[in-house]
């Protein structure tokens, strides 16, 4: 029954994605690895082995080992045989962050990436608007391109004067 088999695999995949929704980025615990676009693919082989493909945000991202371990633990707890693969191509981009992920990020106090890397403003090098996640003011200034983790820059709000993290576009 090829049709029936296909159905089963499809459900299986969705179940696995749902389980992996609970694997968070250890440095931004409100975001799942799917929200961030770190989770690239899930494959189920005929013998039932599950291959999960993940990609690092930055080459030196120190969270990758933890993420890999948590993916394995999460699925092994369900009795699954799991293989986690990491690949760098295509290179991760902030464009892969889900809309839900962007909202959760702002609620958590980190300004989400201001525009798509394919935006005209980005290509023309026009200054982007980074909104303060606290008071929502658009009057903000860059303090440093390098923040508390590789993926963040440090900004200051010129209205409420608080500093905040900005998830920079790559």
């Amino acid at each position: 029954m090829p049709n029936g088999n296909h159905m089963k695999t499809a459900t299986g995949k969705e179940e696995i994605y749902a389980l992996l929704e609970e694997v968070k980025d250890p440095e931004i615990p409100v975001l799942s690895i799917r929200d961030l676009g770190i989770l690239r693919d899930v494959e189920i082989a005929e013998n039932g082995q599950v291959t999960v493909v993940i990609t690092p945000t930055y080459s030196g991202c120190p969270a990758m080992d933890t993420i890999e371990r948590e993916v394995k633990e999460k699925l092994e707890a369900e009795g699954l045989d799991v293989l986690v693969k990491s690949k760098i191509s295509p290179a991760w981009t902030t464009d892969w962050m889900t809309e839900e992920g962007r909202q959760k990020l702002e609620e958590y106090g980190i300004a989400p990436p201001a525009e798509s890397t394919a935006d005209k403003a980005s290509i023309l090098g026009k200054p982007k608007v980074v909104r303060c996640p606290r008071c929502k003011s658009e009057e903000t200034s860059l303090i440093s391109q390098f923040g508390s983790t590789a993926c963040k820059a440090l900004y200051r709000c010129d209205d409420c004067l608080e500093t905040f993290d900005y998830f920079k576009c790559i």
């Binding site: 290179a91 981009t93 590789a150 920079k168």
Partner: protein
């Protein structure tokens, strides 16, 4: 020299540059003049060490003797390292670190741009990934070159001293070996002579904005790393970096 031997040598060269410069920048952890610079230096270091891991892992696979990234990073001696002399130079003051970084970032940026069209699947993927990171590194070092060069009398003097000190280590970035010739012919790596002219345009434009001059040293350029001849600095870097894995070879995180 076979194509595999050439590729191994090239991967080691790239991997060692990223590893040694990353190690040098890591020395700023907790020691920079302000927290933002401290974090920036170590962020750049983290990107570079991440890149070194990919490059050395690939080098081990190309070599085919079962050596891992750790074997290559921690169990080779000075004369087996192929990083450029520039990246092993001492951090000195912040101006020297920034000048070293600026010279390297300009080279690395244009090199990776060209490497994006490599016929090697690995090198192409590596370039696409790393260029995103190096674009930020280059912005940082360029900004500081201009800010400090065209800054106060004292900062200008320190930056000019740094340029004079490090200039003679830049020529070696573009030296080619037999490995280059083999890999260029295969479309695997770019020709460093072409990267050199892009680098010169970039560097001259920024130095002018920074009101800095290149020293007149009659065209003298230091050389040696392509053959494994290094400055006295490398041994000390390796002593610190390799101490633990050599002392306790089975140590795991």
């Amino acid at each position: 020299m076979t194509k595999e031997e050439a590729l191994y040598e090239y991967l080691i060269r790239l991997g060692d540059n990223a590893l040694i410069l990353g190690q040098r920048l890591g020395e700023w952890c907790g020691a920079a003049h302000q927290l933002e610079s401290d974090i920036a230096m170590t962020n750049v270091a983290l990107d570079l060490v991440g890149q070194a891991r990919m490059l050395l892992t690939e080098a081990g696979e190309v070599e085919g003797k079962g050596r891992s990234e750790d074997d290559l990073a921690f169990h080779r001696n000075e004369f087996e390292f192929r990083n450029n002399l520039l990246v092993e130079m001492a951090n000195g003051d912040f101006g020297q670190t920034i000048t070293r970084q600026f010279f390297f970032d300009c080279f690395y940026f244009h090199f990776l741009q060209a490497l994006k069209s490599s016929k090697s699947e690995f090198l192409q993927a590596f370039a696409m990934k790393s260029i995103k990171e190096v674009t930020y590194h280059r912005e940082l070092s360029t900004d500081f070159m201009i800010r400090l060069g065209d800054g106060t009398e004292e900062s200008h003097e320190k930056m000019q001293y740094a340029v004079n000190l490090l200039w003679e280590y830049t020529g070696e970035l573009f030296e080619k070996t037999e490995a280059d010739e083999i890999l260029i012919a295969e479309g695997i790596v770019p020709d460093l002579t072409q990267i050199k002219s892009l680098w010169e345009q970039d560097v001259m434009a920024v130095l002018e904005k920074a009101t800095l001059l290149i020293p007149d040293n009659k065209g003298y350029m230091a050389s040696g790393s392509r053959k494994g001849h290094h400055s006295e600095y490398l041994g000390y870097i390796l002593a610190e970096m390799q101490y633990l894995p050599r002392m306790m070879p089975d140590a795991k995180w």
